[in-house]
């Protein structure tokens, strides 16, 4: 049974269990987001996707990413009030992440040229907007190495209890999904440092180029049932090996 609702006065059909954001996106209606990732569980942390929802007599401003669609719902994605709320939240986010292009771009679009707020005094992770995409990606990969630590203005993202986490394999997925790219990852020819932990890199057995971290490889072998000697070759050496095999067939 499909659900019928209206988004910006357009009648749309959705399936039960779907959320306003995904239905709107399918209709080509764009709603700004910072903490949403289609492959990860929704959280509703950034408060940028706010929309106005009218259900019967009740009217509220709520997040589109985690609100389930309901029969007869009327959603407005671009009213002055909605824009005002989004602008307020972006002004707060802009204070927190003044150097993040994604935040700056959205803020500018909503007319937030500068922020009246100040960033937290002691922030170990500047430009972090606490969206927890990194936490969710890490959990999705089965590592569970990251968490939101502390409460209130002391809340930040880090390793639980601030201790080195054995669960972290140094894959860098947290950085890949970070909308502000605020996580520090340093790589030398032999090591990768992230979240204050340094990992040894597997070196290509033919050319010595860094491939991935030892821990990452061990985790991949364990969870993906790969052979023990898996991936000790860089992609270019894998290619040359393949080309030599092919050459011996051709000539």
């Amino acid at each position: 049974m499909s659900i019928r609702l209206w988004i910006d006065d357009r009648e749309v059909l959705a399936e039960p269990g779907e959320r306003i954001l995904e239905v709107a996106q399918r209709q080509g209606i764009s709603i700004p987001t910072l903490c949403h990732h289609p492959a990860l569980p929704v959280l509703g942390a950034c408060r940028v996707c706010l929309v106005e929802v009218q259900q019967g007599k009740r009217r509220e401003i709520t997040t589109a990413c985690n609100t389930l669609v309901q029969e007869g719902m009327r959603v407005a994605t671009d009213t002055a009030e909605v824009r005002g709320h989004r602008a307020m939240n972006l002004e707060l986010l802009r204070a927190r992440a003044p150097e993040a292009p994604a935040v700056r771009e959205l803020a500018t679009q909503l007319g937030v040229a500068r922020s009246r707020f100040r960033p937290p005094a002691q922030n170990p992770l500047p430009n972090c907007i606490l969206c927890e995409l990194c936490v969710r990606a890490c959990a999705h990969l089965g590592h569970h190495a990251l968490a939101a630590v502390g409460r209130g203005d002391k809340k930040r993202i880090g390793l639980p209890h601030n201790r080195p986490a054995e669960a972290c394999v140094g894959c860098g997925s947290c950085l890949s999904v970070c909308p502000t790219r605020c996580i520090l990852l340093k790589e030398t020819a032999t090591t990768r440092t992230i979240w204050g932990q340094t990992f040894e890199l597997v070196r290509c057995k033919s050319c010595g180029a860094p491939v991935m971290t030892e821990a990452q490889r061990a985790h991949a072998i364990r969870t993906k049932q790969l052979p023990e000697d898996h991936d000790d070759t860089c992609e270019l050496c894998k290619q040359s090996a393949a080309s030599q095999r092919l050459a011996s067939v051709v000539w």
Binding site: A39, G172, Q216, Q239
Partner: protein
């Protein structure tokens, strides 16, 4: 011939994705050999094989690598990718390159059915067949 125009064409058409200089097709020199009585340089081109049972798609934890029904290529749905790099490790032929700057894998997508490498090959050594 080994002119590498295909590599250049590939890098160029995908440069918007921030991958200039990282072609998804590569020419591998294979020394020299005798062909019809003439000594010639030997080259092989290698690019993604769009495997029937693709290792990259199999290890992807978010199903970000999917088969395009029209081109039959395995394509990256960038919005679903969480940049873990497992696909690069999984490909046995070395055709997945995880770009550490943009933090996405670079993957041959057959240019949506009309590959630039084949279009620009001056010797018509590359072609796409259904």
């Amino acid at each position: 011939m080994g002119c590498r125009t295909c590599e250049l064409a590939c890098s160029f058409v995908h440069s918007r994705a921030g991958a200039l200089g990282r072609p998804r097709i590569r020419i591998h020199a294979q020394g020299r050999g005798l062909e019809a009585g003439v000594i010639k340089d030997r080259y092989l081109q290698l690019t993604c094989l769009q495997c029937a049972e693709a290792a990259c798609a199999k290890v992807c934890p978010t199903q970000a690598l999917v088969r395009d029904e029209t081109t039959r290529a395995i394509v990256l749905v960038a919005e679903r990718c969480i940049g873990c790099g497992l696909c690069e490790a999984a490909c046995p032929f070395g055709h997945m390159h995880f770009d550490r700057q943009i933090r996405l894998p670079l993957k041959c997508d057959l240019c949506g059915g009309s590959p630039a490498c084949a279009r620009f090959c001056p010797h018509h050594a590359l072609e796409i067949r259904p």
